[in-house]
Symmetry: C2
Subunit: 214 residues, 2 copies
């Protein structure tokens, strides 16, 4: 029954709209995307969008929530786990994060941008879903700090900031890096793949006590 043209498009209208909205919202942000554009991208009519989702804002919030959940799900499992070492958590976290980001390179910029325009909304969701301050990850960082195994660190939040910065920032500055380094999407993904190995090494070295006298 499926024509060749529909081979890849065997989705309900609702799913097609969500896929189109996800793509466009993450690319351009809420205000830059018009409902007509989403409808066209989904290959359906404008009226159908409102039939399924009542309003543009409603559709947006749904997309945003699903997006954040996808990111939060894997991370939460890793950081709330008392059975793994700090080093193991960092390796798992950076590796997992980069894998998702390579597949969704526009999402970080999208989330950060929404965070700027509607801070309460987004930070609430992240705070609930991740709950970093009550995680085993944070506990272990504090323990290591007390033991003196992590130097040059005034507050555990700095550890967290630097981890996120080194992991996420290359993706939000992707257009610049691709231009300056004169590389394409594939080469960029490869470069990020290479960072997977390096991130735990760098993060450990940043706070490593000097070992001159050993």
């Amino acid at each position: 029954m499926n024509s060749k043209a529909e081979l890849e498009k065997d989705l309900t209208a609702e799913a097609k709209i969500k896929a189109a909205a996800l793509k466009l919202f993450t690319q351009k942000g809420f205000d830059a995307v018009k409902t007509r554009e989403i409808a066209a991208e989904a290959g359906i009519n404008l009226a159908l969008l409102n039939y399924y989702f009542r309003s543009k804002e409603n559709l947006f919030e749904l997309i945003m929530l699903e997006n954040m959940s996808m990111f939060a799900a894997g991370i939460s499992v890793i950081i709330h786990n008392s059975a793994t070492t700090l080093d193991a958590k960092i390796s798992a976290l950076t590796s997992h994060y980069i894998d998702i980001l390579i597949k969704n390179p526009n999402v970080p910029q999208f989330v950060l941008n929404e965070m700027q325009s509607h801070p309460e909304k987004i930070t609430d969701i992240i705070g609930q879903k991740i709950n970093i301050f009550q995680s085993d990850l944070m506990k272990q960082v504090q323990q290591e700090m007390q033991k003196g195994h992590l130097v040059n660190l005034s507050h555990p939040i700095q550890y967290f900031v630097n981890l996120l910065a080194l992991t996420i920032f290359p993706f939000v500055s992707r257009p610049l890096l691709m231009k300056l380094g004169d590389i394409n999407d594939e080469a960029f993904a490869q470069m990020m793949e290479g960072r997977k190995k390096m991130l735990p090494v760098w993060l450990k070295a940043m706070y490593a006590p000097k070992t001159k006298n050993e």
Copy 2:
């Protein structure tokens, strides 16, 4: 002649519009800001905006260019200087960058966002103004790499990425950090001030060869 109400507002209409546009564009991005909103913020009429700047897009590009020039000016001087050491450049660069960013915390997110929607436009400007690859900074990084003084570094661009990430990312994730850490603008600025001292230390430690056998 100036009334009390105008005490702080002794600016030409043109300057008031530019100030309002800068504030709103950096806060919300091009599409989210309406011309009527800029006019209201500037305390002038909508028609006057078009009288001075012909169009919204024109006004935007002007603001963007001035913004980028402000950032690029100081940086260019630092990285194109064969008389200073690599360490001195890093200290000057991070310190100078953070000072500007504390005063303009919304600008990085604004620039990154525009970079996403109009990559060619922004990356061209940055590439021209900064020209990182032909800088003395890059030459010195490559020299140090060849001498084996920088380990764990596959390509000099990674050095550059990590430098930018650790410097800029806290500002683009500012709303999240303020929420999670439960801090206000002043405390955030103080936290960034504290990072000024740490950034050169961290960046040096990341690539420092082990010194066990000394």
